[in-house]
Amino acid sequence: MTREKTGALVILLFSVAYGLLATKIPLSFLSEQEVFTARTMPYALAVAGIVLSLAIIILPTVDPEGKASLGEATKGMDWSTAILLVVLMLVFGLIMKWLGFILSSILFLLCGFRILGETRIRLMLFSAIPLVLALWCIMSLLLGVYIAPGEIFYQLGVL
């Protein structure tokens, strides 16, 4: 299957799920009598999504770039690095509240540099620390935006 047909199949499933969820949108007694309700647009969009994705699946692929299969198109890609970066971003979101902006950001950048293969520790530190501190200064001191310190500082009794 060509990669654009694979994509259309995924969106077809998404549109069907979206349409089914749209039937669960609650309506008040009065709004049920109206022609245009909170469900109208979602229903129309679900139908449009299903029709268009089916059209892509059924009709022959014209776009030369879309003709390759997903396997061929993604062959030789550096998946492990990309997955590690995605995991790093998720972890960053989780630790932000606990470690606070400065610590978690520096850790994120150092880990990111390392994942991409950077080995020069000094360069990593000289890139990450001033960047994060500069951003913190701009936001907190210059623009007056309050950035809460991490929970860890309260738990350790530092703040």
Binding site: S15, P26, L45, L59, V86
Partner: protein, 513 residues
């Protein structure tokens, strides 16, 4: 009208010449050139990355900054196209066709200088046209009703797909629909009913537009650099560009002048079409010049032709300015980047459209007049800085990619201070990455998302006015006209395919080789 225009221009000049606005034009041009130059990052990413900074600013100042970033990024994209054959985005692909061969022949400085002059001329001519056309369209648009707006939004969304590449029409339309679906998440404005929130408090207000823009563009573009093991940013030798190499002779100027004038006009009018944008502007200008060139010159196209370089560079800058016409006068974005800017305007509490011309002349005229200044700054700033900018391209991706990811995540977090948004961004980034790998475009999705709420509102209002009848689609002459145009644009790709088939199947005339 002329009196109003003169007053507006004066308002624009006084607004632009405030020191903070001058500083923002300068900063926008600089930041845009820098971000646009980085391989993989285009104007949408550049504008999205700058939005969090503008939230603390006055709306006019914020828009002036974003406009500067926009045309700065278009200019920056051409630098990476010429130097390392790595167009930052689609609008500068045509620049690489002749710019890169020129650089390889030993004239990187000349190519960059011609690109700078062409961008300046294209941008400036388009701003003059924008100044006349925008108020004209705005005054006509004051008589528009909900039905016309609904039809216009339909036109904008379908036009995006019609201008997609070969075989891309259905995909672009499908992405518009997905964008519209995402816009329905949250609380329904009229009834107050929750839709697709799954009981989550974070989704009550819907999906944050900045979050979606950052996830679908900035994060995915950084990740695709990693996935493709794109080492282009490591391969440049910046020493090859010196100040002396930037010289362009008088003869060369005279040679490219007609190209610049033609491409400026074409680029502007292409940019005005909703959904067309800078990409189409650059390719159409390139195609037109190749067709108009004498046979000897035609052979040089793709091998380092000066006209082949000047045309797309002028065309994309003129189209960028042109795309501000539907944004400022109708509230309908002309391209993916202006869709992001529309989101920013709405976030400031300003509703773009014909009323903006009357209600917020400072924003309307401030943005237009700041473009003159921006084009001059781009020329003055970028020409001497080209050798230094080129060095920035040598920053290794091992440092650059995590920094881009960090700024994208922070851009959203520092606005909402909600760590759930970071998780949601990663989720959308994975989905967008998958769609990109399956060759689906992202700009129509963003356009659909931005226009979704407005479209639903206008459709609901039109139905109410017309007693739940769809007659509003053909009863008003303006609506009917716009709908016919939409139909024409939708049928255009099919008609083109049929015409090509007919031409191929018809036998050659006797006597012809």
């Amino acid at each position: 009208m002329w009196d109003g225009m003169l007053t507006g221009m004066m308002t624009g000049i006084t607004t632009t010449l405030i020191p903070i606005n001058i500083a923002m034009v300068l900063m926008g041009c600089f930041a845009g050139s820098f971000i646009g130059m980085l391989p993989g990052l285009g104007p949408i990413t550049a504008v999205a990355l700058m939005i969090p900074i503008t939230y603390g600013l006055d709306p006019t100042t914020g828009m002036v900054l974003l406009a500067g970033v926009y045309y700065g990024a278009i200019f920056g994209g051409s630098t990476s196209s010429i130097l390392i054959n790595a167009p930052g985005e689609a609008a500068t692909v045509a620049t690489a066709l002749d710019g890169y061969p020129l650089a390889r022949q030993g004239y990187p400085g000349k190519a960059l200088a011609i690109a700078a002059y062409a961008s300046f001329s294209g941008g400036t001519i388009a701003v003059i046209l924008l100044m006349f056309f925008a108020p004209m369209l705005a005054s006509i648009a004051t008589s528009f009703q909900s039905a016309d707006y609904f039809a216009l939004m339909l036109l904008g969304l379908t036009a995006v797909s019609a201008f997609a590449g070969r075989g891309g029409v259905l995909k672009a339309l499908l992405m518009v629909v997905v964008g519209l679906m995402l816009s329905t998440v949250g609380t329904d404005q009229t009834s107050g009913i929750q839709r697709f929130t799954f009981g989550s408090l974070e989704l009550l207000d819907g999906i944050e537009f900045l979050l979606l823009a950052m996830a679908t563009f900035a994060l995915t573009e950084a990740l695709s650099i990693v996935l493709k093991r794109d080492a282009s940013s490591d391969s440049l030798n910046p020493k090859m560009i010196g100040f002396k190499s930037l010289k362009v002779t008088k003869k060369e100027f005279k040679f490219i002048l007609p190209t610049i004038l033609r491409s400026s006009l074409l680029g502007f009018f292409v940019g005005v079409l909703p959904g067309a944008g800078a990409t189409l502007g650059s390719f159409m200008a390139y195609g037109m010049e190749r067709n108009l060139a004498p046979k000897e010159e035609q052979k040089k196209f793709g091998k380092g032709s000066l006209r082949g370089l000047a045309a797309p560079e002028t065309g994309n800058n003129a189209a960028s300015s042109g795309s501000f016409v539907p944004l400022l006068t109708l509230g309908i974005p002309g391209s993916g980047t202006t869709a992001v800017m529309l989101g920013a305007l709405i976030a400031y509490g300003i509703e773009p459209g014909p009323r903006m011309f009357v209600e917020r002349p400072d924003v309307f005229w401030g943005v237009i007049m700041s473009m003159y200044l921006g084009n001059v700054f781009l020329l003055i700033l970028n020409l001497p800085l080209i050798p230094y900018f080129a060095r920035l391209l040598a920053i290794p991706r091992t440092l650059m990619v995590p920094i881009i990811l960090f700024f994208s995540l922070m851009g959203v977090y520092l606005v909402t201070f909600n760590d759930f948004d970071i998780q949601m961004m990663v989720f959308f980034c994975i989905a967008a990455m998958a769609l990109r790998l399956m060759n689906f475009p992202m700009a129509p999705l963003l356009l659909g998302f931005i226009l979704g709420g407005l479209m639903e509102d206008n459709l609901r209002r039109s139905l109410m006015i017309y007693d739940d009848s769809m007659a509003f689609m053909w009863e008003r002459p303006i609506t009917l006209g716009i709908n016919l145009l939409t139909l024409f644009i939708l049928l255009l790709p099919a008609a083109r395919t049929l015409w090509e088939r007919f031409r191929r199947s018809s036998p050659p005339e006797p006597g012809l080789p």
